[in-house]
């Protein structure tokens, strides 16, 4: 399914991203940590032509990872390598040639397009900026990009507010693809779309991925969507990657108790509602400076040592990793 024995397109090593919670005087005067670790010691590879899903709830750091890989955020520590080149600390000027290779499709399609620009402007800008084609070819390229994304070419003249969510997301996808990027980070690209339009966009991703062999990091909170599109899935919980495995393996043999809990929500039959524990297991507070496993408070497998330190990643088998001391008991 995916090519092996090949250097990864993207390698992320021990990535740490922090956000400042308090600034200046407030930071000096108040107790508690000044930073929130949005992404904490995360490592993974993405192979060429692969679709990697990053799944987690809001606040799990999945979007932050995506934006940090694209260097929209500065990591506090760790390494990001694209094609073996370390881009972690490149300045904006030296980063520019790599920008073209790393594109993003955002969650909210309306705000990902400038409200004052027409579709034509949105699509022409990257073509001209990177001199991807001659000036007299721009129109043809735009038409091509639009029809590839399933839109009629007369959409060129439209402004964002004149289009529906699904159409906007198609334009955003077309824009990302005009640069023929090596890697696309898709950040919850269907979560704001209507149910009847969602399938269209998911199918568009699938078709374009297969047609152009694009490498995608697909960020979603919905395991079912991840299963539909992804070759491998990584599960995140409050800044930590807790499990990563090929899609079918994750669904058939999950190891981390959190992955199991997430999979448990997939059963749609009414009976599962009865089995739900109604007691609120308080979620981990990311602003508190806890050293132990972040899933501790909700975990059915917890033992004393889980309190002492967050478990490091172990291989269940090749290609399937889990961060849990007790995974063998599960």
């Amino acid at each position: 399914m995916t090519p092996r024995d090949e250097a990864p397109l993207l390698a992320v090593r021990n990535l740490l991203v922090r956000f400042r919670l308090r600034q200046g005087m407030t930071a000096a005067l108040s107790k508690g940590p000044t930073y929130l670790k949005a992404v904490d010691d995360v490592s993974f590879d993405v192979r060429r032509g692969e679709v990697l899903g990053l799944v987690g709830e809001s606040g799990s750091g999945k979007t932050t990872i995506g934006k940090t890989i694209l260097r929209l955020y500065k990591p506090a520590d760790g390494v990001i390598e694209v094609n073996g080149v370390d881009i972690t600390h490149l300045g904006e000027r030296r980063l520019k040639p790599y920008r073209r290779d790393l594109q993003m499709v955002f969650q909210d399609p309306l705000s990902s397009l400038n409200p004052r620009h027409t579709v034509r402007t949105a699509l022409a800008t990257p073509l001209l900026l990177h001199a991807i084609c001659r000036a007299d070819e721009v129109e043809t390229r735009i038409d091509e990009a639009l029809s590839r994304a399933g839109l009629p070419t007369n959409f060129k003249r439209r402004y964002p507010h004149e289009m529906s969510g699904g159409q906007l997301q198609r334009v955003a996808i077309a824009r990302a693809l005009t640069m023929s990027p090596a890697l696309v980070v898709a950040d919850e690209p269907v979560s704001k779309l209507d149910v009847s339009v969602r399938a269209q966009i998911l199918n568009l991703f699938k078709d374009l991925q297969q047609a152009f062999n694009i490498t995608i990091i697909f960020i979603t909170h919905d395991l079912r969507v991840a299963r539909y599109l992804c070759h491998r899935i990584g599960v995140m919980y409050f800044g930590k990657l807790v499990e990563i495995a090929p899609t079918e393996e994750l669904f058939s043999a999950p190891k981390h108790p959190y992955t199991k809990a997430l999979l448990g929500t997939l059963d749609e039959s009414a009976a599962t509602l009865e089995g739900q524990s109604a007691v609120a297991g308080e979620a981990f507070n990311p602003a508190a400076d806890t050293v132990g496993c972040r899933y501790f408070d909700r975990c059915p497998l917890r033992v004393e040592r889980c309190r002492a330190a967050h478990p490091s990643f172990e291989d269940v088998k090749s290609g399937h990793g889990v961060a849990c001391y007790e995974w063998r008991r599960s």
């Binding site: 009847s196 749609e268 009414a270 509602l273 524990s277 109604a278 979620a283």
Partner: protein, 329 residues
């Protein structure tokens, strides 16, 4: 049918903008019986929220609403003055919205909110007077019932100190104390994470079993409606296109739109190679198709579909569908 708590006939609602009026809800009929949970399912712009808000008279000033009849426990709601309506709503109807923060006074602690509800409902019966006197114990018990074991601690917190899930739980405890005859919930779990969402959905079900009240649940999520509701009404572009008992509708959807929705929403539950799409986009309320609203996107569209909007056909067993394919009568 004396057990019908809420009965709506011919509800239209819209907004006047720029000198013209745009109707976003048309000809909605709805019955909710005591102890029944009815789901309105629709995508954005389908009019599901406006339907709920117009029954509760919670729409902004530029809204236009009319109906043949809105009956609530034998009272004609259309005939009530604004004041009388507010009074009735305050005693008998509870609302749960997507964002629970709005239901709380940010300057008051959780205990103040619960106490107020106990005191307000004291007028209902002598038993309620007793309960209001011992409100503190009753409140802690209710919080325990909604899965907050440390109720005594939570009572001393301000709303902003609670997470979204905890707030929604507290709000459910307040609804339990309030004992309404009708609950209207509009996407109450959309902002919550999957696991917490499941827990809250379960609480809604327990809540309704316990209060035995009428419950209107508005959602865009087919699977939630599937799990919770006794009956559903599917809305498209401002009209109900299909209605019936949840199990039957899910097992055998009649309207092509319902079929498409189910196919694209539930196909993901199992491993699929390709999702079935509904082509096209939702129509804009200012530019509706002339005949059947779903005709431009429908696989089964015939010339007659474009001619006029099909009427609701009664399929028996409480099922109805607005589509020419079933227009035998």
């Amino acid at each position: 049918m004396s057990d019908v708590t809420l009965s709506v006939r011919g509800l239209d609602a819209g907004f006047s903008m720029g000198g013209s009026t745009v109707m976003v809800v048309r000809d909605v009929d709805l019955d909710i019986r005591k102890g029944e949970m009815v789901g309105i399912i629709g995508e954005s712009g389908s009019g599901k929220t406006v339907t709920g808000m117009s029954i509760l008279r919670l729409l902004p000033d530029n809204a236009v609403t009319h109906a043949e009849r809105i009956d609530f426990l034998g009272t004609d709601l259309l005939g009530l003055s604004a004041e009388a309506f507010r009074e009735l709503r305050g005693r008998r109807i509870a609302m749960v919205f997507q964002d629970p923060v709005g239901a709380f006074n940010p300057a008051k602690k959780v205990e103040w909110h619960l106490k107020e509800i106990f005191e307000r409902s004291a007028a209902k019966s002598p038993a309620h007077v007793d309960r209001a006197k011992n409100w503190h114990g009753a409140a802690i018990q209710l919080l325990k019932d909604v899965g907050i074991p440390h109720g005594a601690d939570v009572m001393h917190l301000f709303p902003h100190q609670l997470s979204g899930g905890m707030l929604q739980r507290t709000l459910i405890a307040m609804v339990l104390a309030f004992e309404p005859d009708l609950i209207v919930a509009d996407e109450p779990t959309t902002n919550l994470d999957n696991i917490v969402e499941r827990q809250i959905l379960r609480l809604f079900r327990d809540l309704q079993n316990r209060l035995d009240c009428a419950f209107l649940f508005i959602t865009h999520d087919m699977s939630i409606a599937h799990m919770l509701c006794d009956r559903i009404a599917v809305m498209y572009a401002g009209r109900i296109v299909e209605t019936g008992p949840t199990k039957q509708v899910f097992a055998d959807p009649k309207h092509p739109y319902t079929q498409g929705l189910l196919a694209s929403a539930l196909a993901l539950d199992t491993k699929t190679e390709r999702l079935k799409e509904i082509p096209g986009e939702l129509p804009s309320p200012t530019d509706l198709p002339p005949g059947c609203l779903f005709e431009p996107r429908c696989d089964f569209a015939k010339p007659e579909c474009r001619a006029k909007l099909p009427a609701m056909s009664d399929l028996g067993g409480g099922r109805g569908v607005r589509c020419v394919l079933y227009n035998h009568a």
